[in-house]
Each structure stands twice: as structure tokens, then as C-alpha cells.
Symmetry: C2
Subunit: 196 residues, 2 copies
């Protein structure tokens, strides 16, 4: 199982946004939608062994479960519609209990700390100053933590320095989060670039 946590600092917490304005009125939901797409899509299939969490402004967490996902399309707008449906269902989410809004998409009232408490496996922070991917062992059941277009906040960075098992870098260039996810998948798909 490959898990990704994407922290959205500039993300909607209500369903009152227009699908026509994802990079404006919806904060930067476009960034998060691209991460979902990179997380799950192969050319002719969905990666069923992936679980991806979007943390929305440290208030809600949306879980996308690869093995159960339906109605996911690669374009930003349709992914944003799934996020909006999850935010419509947020009213029913009590405590940390999840509510399934569409098949394979779950919403809960959880911020980053609570989410991190709940994940198992190796926690890996993706970071420009981390160990280059080829110099790292390929982890089993990794959980990669990424930030959106903003840096991790001081609090998130502190938490990760305590809790992350490793810090890895996806190359000499600083990449967008969705591109970093694609590189990580490629690294895992090829057993660390060894069985390409």
C-alpha cells in the first residue's frame, strides 16, 4: 500500500465554491486535484494500492481509497466536484468518524496531527533537502507527506521532524506536489529505478 498525505493550506472547508474558479475562489483546490490525479491514474487503470489524504485547511480530511474509487476522472474539475460532494457531506461527519460521500471518498473532521496519529507504516517527508531517492531503501508501506504550493508551516515541520522516519528528495529541482507524486510512483514502480 502506498499512502500520500497532501496538506492543503489554502483549501475550501465548505462546499460554497464554483467549479469554474478552482484556482481562485476555491483557494488553490486545483493544486490538490492534480495531486489526486497523479496519485491514482495509470493509462488504463486506477492504482488500487493507493490511499491518498487531502488535509483541507487543517480542519477536514478527505480520504481517497484506490480500491473503492468510482467516478474519478483525471481532469481537475471533476475531481473538484468529488471534493465538493465530500464537503457537502461534512455536516454528517461527527468527531473523527468518516462519512462516505461518493464511492471510495470519505470525509472526516480531522486536521494533520490527528491524521498522522492514525496512519501506520513508514512516514516519509518529501523535502528538497532530503536524501536523494536513489540513495534510499525502497520502503514497504510508505506514507509520503507533501505540502501544496506553500511550504510546511513551522508546526507541521516540527511535527514531521519528530515523526517522519525519513526525508527524501525527488531531485535537484523543486517540483510541484503532483509532479513529486509522479516521480515517487515511478521510483516505487521500478524498485528504486533498479527494475525499470
Amino acid at each position: 500500500m502506498r499512502q500520500f498525505i497532501v496538506i492543503g493550506h489554502d483549501a475550501p472547508t465548505t462546499d460554497e465554491f464554483s467549479l469554474d474558479d478552482l484556482a481562485g475562489g476555491a483557494g488553490r483546490l486545483d493544486v490538490l486535484c492534480r495531486c489526486v490525479s497523479s496519485g491514482f491514474f495509470l493509462s488504463h487503470a486506477i492504482r488500487e494500492d493507493v490511499r491518498l489524504f487531502l488535509v483541507l485547511s487543517d480542519e477536514f480530511t478527505i480520504r481517497f481509497e484506490g480500491s473503492e474509487l468510482r467516478r474519478l476522472n483525471p481532469d481537475e474539475r471533476s475531481t473538484a466536484a468529488l471534493v465538493r460532494a465530500a464537503l457537502t457531506a461534512r455536516e454528517e461527519a461527527i468527531g473523527h468518524m468518516e462519512v462516505e460521500s461518493t464511492p471510495g471518498v470519505f470525509v472526516s473532521r480531522r486536521g494533520f496531527v490527528d491524521l498522522l496519529d492514525s496512519v501506520a507504516g513508514t512516514v516519509i517527508q518529501l523535502h528538497e533537502d532530503g536524501t536523494p531517492l536513489p540513495e534510499s531503501e525502497v520502503p514497504e508501506n510508505p506514507t509520503f507527506v507533501l505540502s501544496d504550493h506553500h511550504d510546511f508551516t513551522e508546526r507541521e515541520a516540527e511535527l514531521l521532524s519528530e515523526r517522519a522516519d525519513a526525508r527524501l528528495s525527488v531531485g535537484p529541482e523543486a517540483l510541484h506536489a503532483n509532479h513529486a507524486i509522479t516521480v515517487v510512483h515511478n521510483w516505487l514502480d521500478t524498485d528504486g529505478f533498479a527494475n525499470y
Copy 2:
């Protein structure tokens, strides 16, 4: 210079499409917009050494020139707006002459054959059955040719088997074109995964 040619088989050839329906009424323009985004974006910069061509239904070619690009944003919708502006300017494009529609974006009446005739450098077809990236030399001035969500047509495949200098594979999984571009950039950024 890194060049990419993305062949859009299901792409608009007029500006009469809605930005609200990129994955429907505009053919699959969403696929091509994601390729543009993967082609150019770094976290805090645009890759100025990149030139990317979109071939629209073998009728028009739009050239995005990294060193001159302005107004490019990573979301699909705003990239589609640049494509639409280019298609509005298509009326002024006579023969193979290009017209600049917005800074760094040029449109011409050219299909794939004419475009391929005009590019210099090493032509590389990205293909599932190609040589794995790590087993290939890192080319200077490569031009990567990719197809959208459809396979290359028989005619395109024939042309590429004659004209391409190499066929490379981006891993054991068949990837979306935009994800393949990201992997290729990572490979080039790291001198073939060697200087990660």
C-alpha cells in the same frame, strides 16, 4: 533545449468551446493542458529551456516557448484559455507561418508531419515497449514525441519508426502523457538518475 511534441487526436480546431467543459465539449483538451503544465512548471519557476508543441487534430500546431512564456498558470482552465486564444488567432495563420497569440504562445497551420520535418535534434518516441530510461544515454537536445490518451495512429507510428532516433520507456506501468513528461524531466534533471 528539451522539446516535447504532444499529439492531440481529440482536440479542438476552433475557439468555440467552453472552458467549463474541457474534458467533454473541447474533446480532451484537459489532457493536453496537463501536458503543458508538466512541461513547464517547477515549484517557483518556469523551465525556460523547454519548448512544447501541441498538435491539434493534425490541423494546427501550438508552440509554447519556455523562455518567452507569460500568463501561464498550472491549472487546466487557464492553460485552456491560452489554447483558445491561439485558436482565435488561427485565422491569421497562413501557410506554415506562425502567429503569436499571447506572449510565448504561437499557432500555425501544421500537422504532425510538417512539425516533425521542422524539429532539429534527437527525436525520441516514448513508448511502453521502448528501452528503459536508465539503459539509455541522456540525449542532448532531445525531442520527445507523445500521444494523448489515444495510441499513436498507424500513420504516426509508421512515421516515427522511420524518423525517431530512439524509443524509450518510462517504466513498467503505462502512464498518462503528462506523467511521462514529469518522469522524463526527472531523468534529465538528474543526468539519467545519476546525479540525483
